[in-house]
């Protein structure tokens, strides 16, 4: 099988067959017209040979569909450039050593899960002693002074604490994303930090299961971390950036 990486298409059981599964609900009453509507939607998405595998009357004039089809679109895989964190990942010992040697003082990190978001497990995983997935959290690093404010912290309180301890880094966790609430929370913090004239001085880092690096950059953060992050990922980035930016 030779794959043309400039024209990548979904694969079911034959190269370039374009096989895609989709499901969605339409706010239309169950029936033949609904089925046709579902097919038209799929067609607009660029599917051919559309098969409605399943449809179900959800009541209240809503209908659920499962469809399969063959996608006409392809993408050029060779052109893909992902904005990734460029620093190399160090381990606990390397990080401490590097801070000691190159920054020569403890790094101060303040973190919280902000707004009305009460999910502490993520930020705890990064900051608390015991850490996550067998990796120590930031509190355990001798060369890091970590302040974990917990959850449900207002952006104002977080910033105040950062100023109080003269923090190098602010970590923000956002887990609830419904109706884009994380976007407004995260944006507000950037604005507050800028208004306080601290944007250049502190590294702003956000994280959460539905956060990624690209989104973080768009929102004005220095980095963003998603699911499965461990403290060493974040600490490596911090150290690397502080050295690069000469924040000592």
């Amino acid at each position: 099988m030779s794959i043309d990486f400039t024209k990548i298409k979904p694969y079911g059981d034959t190269v370039n067959d374009g096989a895609v599964q989709l499901s969605f609900t339409l706010p239309v009453p169950y029936g033949d017209e609904a089925k046709e509507a579902a097919k038209l939607i799929a067609k607009k998405m660029g599917l051919e040979e559309i098969q409605v595998y399943h449809m179900k009357d959800l009541g209240e004039n809503f209908t659920f569909f499962i469809l399969y089809g063959k996608l006409i679109h392809s993408i050029d895989f060779t052109k893909i450039k992902v904005s990734k964190l460029e620093n190399k990942r160090m381990d606990f010992y390397e990080i401490n050593r590097k801070i000691e040697e190159e920054i020569k003082r403890k790094i101060k990190v303040v973190g919280a899960c902000t707004g009305t978001d009460a999910h502490t497990v993520g930020i705890d995983a990064i900051m608390n002693m015991k850490g996550y997935h067998g990796e120590y959290g930031l509190e355990r690093y001798q060369m890091i002074e970590a302040y974990n404010l917990g959850a449900q912290v207002s952006n104002e309180d977080l910033l105040a604490k950062a100023i109080e301890v003269d923090a190098d880094v602010i970590l923000v966790s956002q887990v609830v994303t419904q109706k884009g609430i994380h976007l407004s929370n995260l944006t507000e913090l950037v604005e507050l930090v800028e208004a306080a004239g601290l944007r250049k001085k502190v590294l702003l880092i956000c994280g959460g299961p539905r956060i990624n690096h690209e989104l973080a950059l768009e929102l004005g953060y220095d980095a963003g971390f998603g699911s499965g992050t461990v403290a060493a990922d974040v600490a490596s980035f911090i150290v690397d950036q502080m050295i690069k930016r000469n924040i000592t």
């Binding site: 809503f62 009305t116 449900q152 609430i181």
Partner: protein
């Protein structure tokens, strides 16, 4: 005796410790009241609505009385005095306070006797409303019937009460027995209850009396159509626990999440505040015939489900005793637990089964609330759907009371309409397919399940013994539950707690205690 051999002595011992713990708490609680309890009384006296700035009148009034230094006598007394003095209704008193038109000094002239007479009268008619709704529910149940246990419980959480209604009605048609309207993320920390119909919440919809009413009506309608009474659930928890309990009682909610420990551990609400609130809210709930759902299942979202299983059981024992003291019948105790073991754990299913069966046997008459996998759900919706199926399997096999259906999209978003339908379909398929399996199998005497169950039981008994020695407050301070430590004076809402004066007056509580037959110590069995 049930299917699983359990050490009965340990059960008795654990229950006894819990009883002592509950008595300790009750003693503490009895001497105190809170702002929200006082607001609750005013609501039941007929005060509703918010002023032009959106501040609920009950908050306005209680804050006002507090400023005056009068709250520790009980808000009821002062409102009665004003009512009598000015010859106006409770609502009119509230409006007048908003306009600064009450002269409280002038009100002092009313005799204690008159105040109490009016107080009892108002309390009686306040409770009357609740009783009517309880009777209304019974009529519905008699006429329409209900689904079998485990009740299929699903959530709606669009943030918009009108979208919620559509989703709820669709779910009822698909087979749901209980609809829970999830609250917006911020609400539990609000020290007031928002007013009116709302359309903008995050991860849930505001709990307001109007929203309750809208949903109740929608469910009554669809219940008629499907020929099954559809239960409505909301949250009597957070800083307004008793107020929402009262609103739920008046709007005929059938199930309410209600657990002070949850608020302490997961919302950082002050422990004194919420335990005091809980005691009164549970009396209202008991009287309203509402089923409570407790939240110890949540412990397993932060602590490990294998390691911390006994903390859930210990908490259930405590919640049982606290509930009993508020007059709740066993049939109203939806004690919580959860299917939260890592799916990749070898023989994890055996442990889940052991726990579920054990809980079922220890609390034989409680409509145990069984929570689905959440922590180990991932974006892999296909695997998630099977995790939920395994959960439904255990729920049916062990005869749980309330099955909170898992959604395959749990790791990512609050349920879409289709997620809920697929989830109900999942439960109906599995439960029907194994309908009588529980009658057909026996667990090996001395086997893995029995060993596991007794191990958990033993640890729970030991833990309760420790808590009994320490007192619940200290135990929480030490992080014995959910790996979370909270301090006695920390968290939100402590400023809303006050000591009752000797002449404190709460006619609602008095009447409720009489009606519910609780008061002094309650016997543990």
């Amino acid at each position: 005796m049930g299917k699983l051999y359990l050490n009965q002595d340990l059960i008795e011992k654990a229950r006894h410790s819990a009883s002592v713990i509950a008595d300790q708490i009750n003693e503490f609680v009895d001497k105190r009241s809170t702002d929200t309890i006082e607001r609750t009384l005013l609501r039941l006296m007929g005060i509703d609505g918010a002023n032009s700035e959106g501040i609920p009148y009950v908050n306005l009034l209680v804050d006002h009385l507090k400023e005056q230094g009068n709250l520790d006598e009980g808000a009821v007394k002062w409102v009665c005095r004003a009512m009598i003095t000015y010859g106006i209704s409770a609502q009119e008193v509230a409006n007048a306070v908003d306009q600064n038109k009450i002269d409280w000094v002038a009100c002092k002239g009313v005799s204690e006797e008159e105040v109490k007479e009016l107080g009892y009268k108002l309390a009686k008619s306040g409770l009357e409303q609740i009783k009517r709704q309880r009777e209304e529910r019974n009529k519905y149940l008699e006429r329409l019937g209900e689904g079998n246990q485990p009740y299929l419980y699903v959530i709606v959480a669009t943030g918009d009460i009108y979208e919620d209604v559509i989703q709820a009605q669709a779910a009822a048609r698909q087979g749901a027995d209980i609809i829970a309207v999830i609250r917006t993320t911020g609400q539990s920390l609000l020290d007031y209850v928002p007013y009116g119909a709302t359309r903008e919440g995050f991860g849930g919809t505001y709990a307001t009396q109007e929203n309750f009413k809208i949903m109740r009506k929608a469910l009554d309608e669809v219940g008629e159509e499907v020929g099954r009474y559809i239960r409505l659930c909301n949250y009597s928890s957070g800083l307004c626990m008793p107020e929402i309990a009262a609103m739920g009682a008046v709007e005929r909610l059938d199930v309410m999440l209600n657990d002070a420990l949850y608020g302490i551990l997961f919302r950082d609400i002050n422990m004194q505040r919420t335990l005091i609130d809980q005691a009164f809210s549970r009396m209202i709930i008991a009287y309203a015939g509402i089923i409570i759902n407790t939240g110890e299942d949540n412990y397993l979202t932060t602590a490990d489900a294998v390691e911390a299983a006994h903390t859930v059981l210990a908490s259930q024992f405590i919640n049982e005793q606290l509930a009993k003291r508020a007059g709740l019948k066993e049939e109203q105790m939806g004690l919580g637990h959860a299917f939260e073991i890592n799916p990749d754990f070898e023989d994890g299913f055996l442990l889940e089964l052991a726990q579920a069966q054990m809980v079922r046997q220890i609390f034989p008459n409680a409509p145990i609330k069984y929570m689905p996998p959440t922590k180990y759900m991932t974006g892999n919706i296909f695997k998630g759907h099977i995790q939920d199926a395994m959960f439904n399997f255990v729920g049916m096999l062990t005869g749980q009371g309330i099955q909170l259906l898992g959604m395959m999209t749990e790791a990512m978003h609050t349920p879409y309409m289709q997620d809920r339908q697929l989830s109900i379909e999942n439960a109906k398929y599995v439960m029907n397919n194994i309908r009588h399996l529980s009658e057909e199998i026996q667990f090996l005497r001395g086997g893995r399940l029995e060993k596991r169950a007794n191990e958990v039981l033993e640890k729970a008994a030991k833990m309760l013994d420790d808590v009994e020695q320490l007192g619940l407050f200290k135990a929480i301070e030490q992080g014995m539950f959910a790996d979370v430590k909270r301090s006695f004076v920390g968290g939100k809402g402590l400023d809303g707690v006050f000591d009752k004066r000797d002449d404190y007056f709460n006619p609602f509580e008095e009447l409720l205690k009489r009606e519910l037959g609780v008061g002094g110590k309650v016997n543990e069995h």
